[in-house]
Structure formats: C-alpha cells, structure tokens
C-alpha cells in the first residue's frame, strides 16, 4: 500500500477516536467545561499535560532544528523540560490548593483587583493566540504534504475536529482526547526512532544508540565522532561544539524555562486533578512523558543529520531515491547544480553548496530517508496532527475561559447564570477556532516568528506575578500590576524593535548585552521582579483577608472541587 493510503487510514482512525471520546465526555457544568470537574486522575492528567505541551513545534520542528544547530540546540531541550521543575516546585501545588478555574482568576483574587485580572486576561489571550496560529499552520502543512489536499482544506478539517470536541466537551473532552493524542504522538515519534537506531547502531533504544558505534554498513566508529568528522570535512560547525555565545544560550534557556512555567494552558491543567498531592504527582508524570520524546529528539537529530549527509553528499542526482524528488516538489529540498557535474555537493560554503534542506522536514522525511516501511512514514503524519491538534485545543480553551469566565462572569456581567456562562464559553471557543483557522490559512508573515516569543512574554508577565503571589505575602496589587505591565512591555518592545522596526540591528553586536530576542524574556522577568518589589515597598500592604488566603494556600489540607461562583 502506498504512503498516502496508509496516511488516510491512520488519520481517519485517530480522528474517529477523538470524535468518539468527545461524544462520551460531554460537559454538563462550567466546572466540567473549565477544569473537567477536577476529577482527572494524575496519570491521565500527566499524559494530557504532555500532549497539551508538545506542540507541532516539538514534534515536527525541534529535532530538525537541533540537527542543524548541533549542541546549540540544547536550549530547546533543557528549556522546555527544566521549566517543569519550576512548575512542580513553585506553582502547581499552590495553585491547586487555591482551587479556581483560570490563571487570571488567581491573579485577580490574589491581587484583589479588577485591573490586575484584566491585565492577566489580556496577557493570557495574547500569549495563547500567537501560539495557536502556529498549531493551525502546522496541521495545514501535514495535511497538504501527506494527503495532498491544499492547505485551506487541511486547516478546515483540523478546525472542524478541534471545534467538535472542544465545544462539546470543554476541558473534559479536551483532557481525554489529549490522553489519546499523547499515545498516538509518542508511538508515532518512537517507532521510526527505534527503527533508525536499530538500522544504524544495532541498539533498539535511541537514547543509547545516540552514544554508540555505527554498524559496519554505516562505516563504524562512534556516531557522534563520525558526525563531527563529516561536519568538519564539509565545512559545517562541529556538531558537538557550540557556536552561540554562552550568555545568549544561558538567557534563552532561562527564558524558555520561566515561560514554560508561566504558560496558562499548561498551568490550568493542574486545576483538573482532585487535590494537591495529585497536582504534584501529575507534574511528575507529565515530565516523564515529555522526557520520553525530549531525550529521543537529540538522538533522532544526530541520526537524521548523519543519514542525510551520507545519502546526498557527492551522490549522483539521477540516482536519488523517491523521497528526494517528492520533497523537491514542495520546494523544501532545493537542488541547484552549480558546476553541472550531475552530483550533489552539500557543503557549508554558499558558493559551492548546491543543496538547501528545510529543517522542518527532518522528522517528517527521516523515515523515508532511512528507507522505513510505508506504514511508519504514514504514522508520523498522524502523530504530527495529534501534536498540533492537542495543543491547539488546550490553547483555545484558555481563550474561551478568559472571555467567558474572567471577562464576562467575573468582571462585567457577574449576574449571568451558570448555563449562560457555559453558552458564552462555547461561543467564545467557536469564535476563537474561526479566527485561528483564518490566520492558519492566511498566515501573516510574523506569526510563525512570534510563536517562539510567546515564551518570553509568559516569562515576563505571569511567572513572577504568580510566584510572588505565593511566596511573598506582602506583595500587593500595585506591585503586581506594575511588574506585569513593565515586564510585558519591555519584552514585547524588545522583540518588536528587532523583528519589525529595525531588523538590520538584529545581530549579536546590536543586542542589549548580547542577548537575542529569544532570550530577552529572562531579562523581562528580572524587570518584572524589580518593579514589583520596588513598587510594593512604597504602597500599602494587601488587606488581611488576602494575606490569610496566602497563608492558607501554603499549607496542606483538603481542597474541594472549585465551586461555581
């Protein structure tokens, strides 16, 4: 059977499964809709968090990025996993004890201020929205390449599926589809990785194959030594050595970690478990499930890079396998025979180099490059879709709760009934899906770039406000508001300046302290902290009942399911 037939089968099967789950898990109350009735077992919540977290970028782009960045790609690996340590130790248990529905709920109640709540609503929507557009685009790309439908049709199919289970089931529907999506995506990521590790090193565990010797057919010697040697020979940077400055890597890693801990769609997952102990436990499960993919990705990156160089360099163009021409038609592989010798020269020197490979295709094309069976290739498409849709659904829920719960119920229309609130939440998710779909089909050029910066914005706005709210009893509304505004404006301003106002300066010499826009969120976090602490010193202490709330969330004790208010 061809790859396309297999892809149709896998995609149809998985989509059928998601719809089945949606029908089974209809939401009846706002508590069901916002936090799945706080009845999700920690293991299931761990899987759902992992799927929620691992987006199209983790699944499709990350291994490819690392494969071209070598050791510099480390900041993605450490940044996107190390943030869970912060989340587990500093946020998840306390927010669960607090027992509300959303992140703006916490900010608004802890800082006893409608202004703080509205700022939090704005940040949550801004962060989630830039993030969700990337997911829709990712889903569209997979549809168009594997099923050969055009991107518009692809995005509409993706939207229809997300719409169906998100609107019907809310958080309850999303949680259980995410559990299924985690299983699909991890299976789809691991199967090709195990195959390739077996093929190249004879070891079925990719994490170990990464540091093992290649088989005779691949020329023997340690994989990483071989890769370093090949890279140097062709003029590329040595794979296991870094090119970026140490302080930039430091700042980017920290920004990704703080951002991970401040992303609202990840934080609200911890509101769905029954109690504080389960919140801690599910953070542990989540990181294990994420680590399975994140420790495999660097291995896949090294395998793919070695395989690619081996296959294409100095090879006859006419003798290239089928996948090469297939990807050429999408313009993601471009061959330009500059010296007309009919062979492919793949080197670092742009004058001589004849091959350009888009880094996004490394994961998608890897099974084909390694000559794996068609069903494995098709599986990767289903996995990439699961990754994109699960993250999109989690983000859309944040947008809908921010509108229906925080904006309408808690700020402007406090008298609406639970039934009306639920209806508004469904309408909000419907509108959000439409807007996200529209942007997915007509992506403004900057959206794809902005996705990476959502982390910096989350790091500079939410992370310090929440941590101070828990660990600094005397932090007041004036401090928190000043901090969030200063952090957000500083970070957004820095990014906008280098990406749109003055892109010519966007290099190590132009940056402040040599920190790239990707890493500026760390400095934004510091700005937020300084403003919060300084302003709080010179303004009145929070009221006694707020200080009591803070004392209470610090202590263990029974928490009930959040009650609709």
């Amino acid at each position: 059977m061809s790859v396309q037939v297999w892809t149709f089968i896998f995609v149809a099967l998985t989509f059928g499964l998601y719809i089945g789950i949606a029908v089974w898990s209809r939401a009846g109350s706002t508590s069901d809709f916002y936090v799945a009735g706080s009845g999700v077992p920690p293991l299931a919540n761990g899987m759902a968090t992992a799927a929620d977290w691992m987006s199209a970028a983790s699944f499709i782009s990350m291994a490819g990025l690392i494969s071209f960045l070598g050791r510099d790609g480390t900041f993605y690996l450490m940044g996107w996993t190390g943030g869970y340590v912060l989340l587990a130790l500093l946020l998840a248990p306390y927010l669960r004890k607090f027992g509300k529905f959303t992140v703006p709920d916490f900010i608004g109640d802890r800082y006893y201020s409608r202004t703080a709540r509205l700022i939090a609503v704005f940040c949550a929507i801004a962060i989630s929205f830039v993030y969700v557009c990337g997911q829709m685009q990712g889903a569209g790309i997979v549809f168009s390449r594997f099923l050969e439908v055009d991107i518009t049709t692809g995005v509409i199919i993706g939207m229809a599926i997300v719409f169906f289970y998100a609107v019907m089931g809310g958080m309850k529907g999303i949680t259980y589809t995410q559990v299924a999506q985690y299983c699909v995506l991890i299976f789809a990521f691991m199967v090709p990785a195990i195959f390739i590790s077996m093929l190249m090193t004879g070891i079925p565990i990719p994490q170990l194959g990464f540091g093992a010797e290649l088989t005779e057919a691949f020329g023997g010697g340690y994989l990483l030594d071989r890769l370093d040697g090949m890279s140097e020979e062709l003029g590329f940077a040595t794979y296991t050595e870094g090119q970026r400055s140490t302080q930039d890597v430091f700042f980017i890693t920290a920004a990704l970690m703080f951002g991970t801990a401040g992303l609202p769609h990840v934080i609200i997952r911890f509101f769905t478990v029954p109690n504080v102990r389960d919140a801690r436990r599910s953070a542990g499960f989540a990181l294990i499930f994420i680590a399975i993919l994140y420790t495999t990705a660097p291995a896949v990156a090294a395998f793919a890079r070695t395989n690619l160089i081996d296959t294409v360099n100095n090879a006859e163009y006419s003798a290239m396998p089928e996948w090469f021409s297939k990807w050429e038609t999408t313009n993601l592989i471009v061959f330009d025979d500059k010296n007309n010798d009919g062979r492919i020269q793949y080197v670092a020197d742009p004058e001589v180099n004849e091959l350009t490979v888009n880094r996004d295709i490394m994961v998608l094309a890897n099974p084909e490059i390694a000559g794996l069976p068609n069903w494995v290739v098709a599986l990767v498409a289903a996995g990439a879709l699961a990754a994109a849709l699960s993250t999109a659904a989690g983000l859309l829920l944040v947008i809908s709760t921010a509108v229906a719960h925080d904006l309408l119920k808690r700020s402007f229309m406090p008298t609406i009934s639970e039934k009306q609130e639920l209806r508004y939440a469904r309408i909000a998710i419907f509108v959000a899906v439409l807007v996200a779909g529209y942007v997915g089909i007509n992506p403004p050029a900057y959206v794809a770039q902005v996705v990476a910066y959502a982390f910096g914005l989350a790091a500079a706005s939410f992370f310090p406000a929440i941590v101070l709210g828990i660990f600094q009893k005397r932090m007041n509304k004036e401090g928190a508001i000043a901090g969030m505004v200063a952090g957000f404006v500083f970070t957004a301003g820095y990014i906008v300046y280098f990406k749109t106002v003055n892109p010519a300066m966007d290099n190590a010499d132009g940056w402040l302290l040599g920190i790239s826009p990707e890493g500026i969120g760390t400095l934004g976090t510091m700005v937020n902290l300084c403003f919060s602490l300084a302003v709080a010193r010179f303004s009145p202490d929070p009221p006694a009942e707020v200080q009591e709330i803070v004392e209470d969330i610090r202590l263990p004790g029974e928490v009930s399911a959040p009650i609709a208010h």
Binding site: M78, G82, F210, T253, G284, P298, L555
Partner: protein, 97 residues
C-alpha cells in the same frame, strides 16, 4: 494553636524547594551551559560528558528532582497532619480537664 506547626511546615517546605532548585540550577546552567566545554574533556563511551548532560542528562535529573520533591513533600504533609491531630486531641483533653 497550630501556628507554630504551620510555621515549621512552611520553613521545611522552603528548605526543600531551595535545595532542589540549587541542584536544578547546577545541572542545567552550570554543567550544561557554563562548564560544558570543560566537561567535554571527559568522555564516556561515544559521548562527551558536557554534551551528554546538555542534551540528555539534565532532562533525567529534572525527572528525578520532581520525584524527590513528591516524596519529601508527601512525608512533610503527613508529619504536619499528624502533629495537627495530636495538638487537637491534647487541646480537647485540656478542655475536659
């Protein structure tokens, strides 16, 4: 009555969190970024140590850190609850007397 107990609980909690965060910082930022080139001089099988910590080892340490945290906090929670119960029962005895 349980103010002292609550204060002790929070203090131990902060100590646990801070010591785990020190390990977190050391493995990722110190070993994985600042000292990575120095550690690269040590080789284990096909890996340079610094490179391995940066791309794999740190993630494994993160998982272990969260599980150590879960274990320590569960223990601390239990101690807090039993002390609270003890206090409650001694209080009620005093009332009876």
């Amino acid at each position: 009555m349980s103010n002292k107990n609550a204060y002790a609980y929070w203090k131990s909690n902060i100590r646990i969190v801070l010591s785990l965060l020190c390990v977190w910082f050391f493995i990722s930022f110190v070993c994985g970024i600042l000292l990575v080139d120095v550690l690269d001089n040590i080789r284990i099988g096909g890996f340079k140590l610094g490179f391995w910590i940066a791309q794999q080892g740190s993630i494994l340490v993160f998982v272990v850190l969260i599980y150590v945290y879960i274990y320590l906090m569960d223990k601390l929670d239990d101690e807090y609850q039993s002390r609270k119960q003890q206090e409650a029962s001694s209080d009620s005895q005093e009332e009876q007397a």
